[in-house]
Symmetry: C2
Subunit: 385 residues, 2 copies
């Protein structure tokens, strides 16, 4: 399961001592090939952590041999010295694996603005290399990248002819994570070149991880990598591979959503009737980021007025008096005004679906978010202190 | 004090029975001239309440005789019937004042998506007309427009030659109010035409009320009106008038900020070294809307990494490795990396100043916001139920 579900990969998760808790905090994923084709997508934040700047460069070559990931520190806003720390991490892994640092990706997650304790991290890389395994290492790695995640997030799928895709993730949203970073490593033993992997990864994450928006905050460290070993020799139909990868990413998205910090509701905002997919995503994101609505859902209050006021902040194509809104299937707003009886809305279940009909076209998109809770405030008030 | 500080105005605040609490809920401000010149600014939300649609039309004529304001219901997302309710309110006031409804502005605040109880509101207009007074009516009116405001917000200033400006406000932010709407009525006995009032009002609110961003949520009802009676016969220098009006609006902004729902901190985000004022405002607003930072400030945690990650979401001109951040005067981030010792930051006072130096030019702007608290979640989870 996890990143070792496909053939050709080994992984490890060890205790390097970066976390005070003594939990696993350093993961390693190694692709033994024969292919090393890889693709990546990264945070759109202009303030990028050192490992993001490094790994973006690595991915330009379209090849990744190994990924070193650490929790316990984001290595963001750490200046030139922080970048040198990332470089030294890649060099250490390269040395131990007998490779060039130019094919070693690095990911970090944790507090921003603090240097990593390299005297513990570098020995941790050695321990991880020694612990590499083709089976349990996948789960150990998924465990090691957790920060406030209460559970490890893993998934795998099998495609036509038997090739596999596996993956692990931590955090709560690629573009807008809850506490800190979303890190995700996806692996496959299918044989696809870097360009095909890049297309598939952008399509898959664009419709899944990229539409998870727990609190609207954009991390400095978000990274999603896709590594292909090609060890099955199967080159799948690209559309099939993309669909399978999308399904796996949706699975991980769902796991991230239900484990988001302090959340008591998992909210899907389905925008339908849009003039364009971009309009549907923009509306979904505006609704997902509306603190007043997120509070209302937490209070199990079907406050559709807050949905409309969020929709009204976008430049999507719609007419205010044509908008329809359903909450858990009850169309509480029709034609921009009061619709069916709001007392019929049952908001007790954890899963909540808000449907916004823009009545402007045939396109749709779903954005996922959480409610806003006192627990969220508590966890994020007390994080670094 | 309030809207009756200038000559030529009378006001009232009465109990119409719109609020279950039995508190005042209907206000009336009447300009007895000789001038009726007026200007207004409104929410940028595309989903606009009926009174906003009505009052925007009234203001196109550049003249306002009276303003009817109600709390206890926003009359937003109420369709054609809701617009007819606003029209009927204006007609009722016009009839009682012996005027045309075309010079009667209407403002509403409260829950979205519910019709107003016109059988109580229209008699309330009659009671307000009967209660009009040139002194205590100003305070009564300021009291009647409160929703969750714990105190009435009023201010007045005196200019060269003795002309006055007065004002009242409710809510917590024009473009991004906390719970519901920001409503503000400003009055003056100076003699300025509608065009001059419009220029002064846009300049004043653009630098004050428009930069108060409690929770990033954009109301359907926000309205700021400026009425001139011209009764002193003084036509002030426009620059002086604008400065005085700006100072008064800053006073009201400050009152709204410290009374924002559930807030325990009043946060000023001063952006300096910007390439343009628009850049400074964009950065200030991005920082003001970052839930993670707002939680950190609530926890008295000088988490400057969250400031940088918010700055990085904007397209303002800056280089990440040139950014400097001070929290309450301590430069905790220099050159995009760790600066002075964060333990020196004292976050115990209610007032917090976050200074962001973009190191990209001579421009600056301040945006005000609040911390994110469990009380905010509580108040907004339980509002309509």
């Amino acid at each position: 399961m996890s990143v070792t579900a496909p053939f050709g990969f080994r992984a490890a998760g060890v205790v390097a001592g970066l976390k005070d808790s003594g939990a696993r905090d350093l993961a390693l994923v190694v692709n033994y090939g024969p292919s090393r084709a890889a693709a990546g997508v990264f945070t759109r934040n202009r303030v990028k952590a050192a490992p993001v700047l490094w790994t973006e460069q690595v991915l330009k070559g379209g090849r990744v041999h190994a990924v070193v990931l650490n929790s316990g520190g984001a290595n963001a806003c750490t200046g030139t010295a922080g970048f040198q720390d990332t470089h030294a991490t890649a060099e250490k892994a390269a040395e131990l694996l007998g490779e060039s640092a130019g094919e070693i990706a690095v990911c970090s997650t944790g507090l921003i603005g603090e240097r990593l304790p390299m005297d513990r991290l570098l020995p941790g890389v050695g321990a991880a290399v020694a612990a590499l395994s083709p089976n349990v290492g996948g789960l150990d790695a998924a465990d090691a990248i957790r920060t406030t995640d209460t559970v490890a997030k893993i998934a795998h799928r099998q495609g036509t002819g038997g090739y596999r895709i596996g993956g692990m993730a931590k955090g709560a949203g690629m573009l807008a994570p809850s506490l800190a970073t979303m890190l995700c490593v996806l692996t496959t033993d299918a044989d696809l070149d870097a360009a095909a992997l890049d297309r598939a990864l952008r399509a898959a994450t664009g419709a899944t991880l990229d539409r998870l928006d727990a609190d609207g905050c954009l991390s400095t460290n978000d990274t999603v990598l896709l590594l292909a070993s090609g060890s099955t020799g199967i080159t799948p139909d690209e559309a099939e591979f993309t669909a399978l990868l999308t399904d796996l990413c949706l699975d991980l998205t769902r796991q991230l959503l239900v484990d988001a910090e302090g959340a008591s509701k998992a909210i899907a905002i389905e925008v339908v009737g849009a003039g364009a997919v971009a309009d549907a995503v923009a509306v979904g994101r505006a609704v997902a980021r509306n603190n007043l609505l997120k509070c209302a859902i937490h209070g199990e209050d079907p406050n559709w007025g807050r949905v409309l006021s969020a929709v009204g902040t976008t430049d999507a194509v719609f007419e205010p008096d044509q908008l329809n809104v359903a909450i858990n299937g009850i169309w509480v707003c029709r034609g921009g005004a009061v619709g069916d009886d709001r007392s019929k809305v049952d908001l007790r279940p954890r899963d909540v679906t808000i449907t916004v009909d823009l009545a402007a076209g045939p396109h749709s998109a779903t954005v996922w978010t959480t409610d806003l809770t006192a627990d969220y405030v508590h966890e994020n008030s007390a994080y670094s202190t």
